[in-house]
Symmetry: none
Subunit: 119 residues, 4 copies
DNA sequence: GTGGTCTAGACCACC
DNA sequence: GTGGTCTAGACCACA
């Protein structure tokens, strides 16, 4: 498990986003128990407080919920999972348009090129 | 000017790619003189030898050519520039499909979502 | 059993009010023996004199009566209990209107909102 | 300006709620500048970090927004203000029902008593 | 100066 | 052990 950090944004949203993607990808399946705050923090090499914040964000997005004693469980709410998947997809799409724009392609051309590549 | 490095690949192709994107974006205009190897190396914080390899790659792609006295000049060959732009665009497209695949969307769905977002 | 103290008023009416609410709630049933002044004072962390005043107030309200030998007994006078219940209820109602007023709702609107929430 | 703290809940939601009520009550009018994090923290006698958290919550509720350099401004979005007012009102209503329940009145009777007191 | 982030470390409730 | 809160203090970007 590796953590890609530091793209200029604060660390905690990056951590939160990566956790979200892992959950969406099924790496942490619905209903499963997430590693503890301290474990995740040690793994990512950040302060437990920072990881705590990332997990709070995850919770607020409805992707996980804390059981004071049992650790943190991934939600089984498929609607919440689907919403998160869409949210992440839109982030990917946005960065796609940005990258293509840097290469001199407007949004319309960016869509066309993708369609060509697909066929 | 900042350099984003280390995504797992060797450093010199990354340098080469970023230089290519700057040329494509017009940051280094056709016919203009590139900074010296030493300058670029210092700026990127890498060994001049590494930067040399990156520039050689650039030359090999037809984006620049060495001039014994004037240093290294950006090509004025618009066809070569266009080819490079397309090459980079395809790399962007590939990583788009990969990112969407990680979120559970196949290529068809990935294209559809992009089109929706575009409209 | 915990004691919520210090809302600005003197301590003894607060103690008295909480004892009254316990009696009304049936926590100290009619006819039962109240804990001794010393016990109650120790539990609440106040001076026995202060608790004494609270209990005197309780007696004055007809909720308890001192028995030379048996300590202090909760009244069995249901009318007195009912009167006390109503008195406390009116205090709750008053603070409800005050809180809603602070939020910008007049008494009429405060009643309406409560009815809506009830349904 | 006084701060009522410690009802068992964490401090930061209490701070956040009191700030919200002040905004709703017009004590901090729409568009006005809130005191700085450090000022508010000193005033409330808490760590700036804790107050920061309370303010972040306020922001997330749409009641304020941060201007990195200009401080924090109360929203002018009347819809957000109205939503917050309703949220707070429901909290007041809930605690009303709880208090009446402790006195032995069910929700229906609690509504009736309020209506009687109103007339 | 402002808001915001991050770390370090202590402490609590829960079971 | 778990999640969560709070403090203390450093640091950054912005203007």
């Amino acid at each position: 498990m590796d953590w890609k950090l530091d793209d200029g944004r604060p660390i905690w949203p990056q951590l939160s986003q990566q956790l979200a993607r892992r959950i969406i990808a099924g790496e942490y399946p619905p209903g499963s128990r997430l590693p503890s705050v301290r474990e995740l923090a040690a793994e990512a090499g950040v302060n437990p407080n920072t990881m705590q914040r990332a997990l709070a964000q995850l919770e607020q997005e409805g992707l996980a919920r804390a059981d004071r004693t049992a650790g943190r469980l991934v939600t089984q709410d498929t609607a919440a999972l689907e919403a998160a998947r869409l949210r992440e997809a839109q982030a990917v799409i946005r960065s796609y348009f940005e990258a293509m724009s840097a290469l001199g392609y407007d949004r319309e051309r960016a869509v066309e090129l993708l369609k060509e590549e697909f066929q």
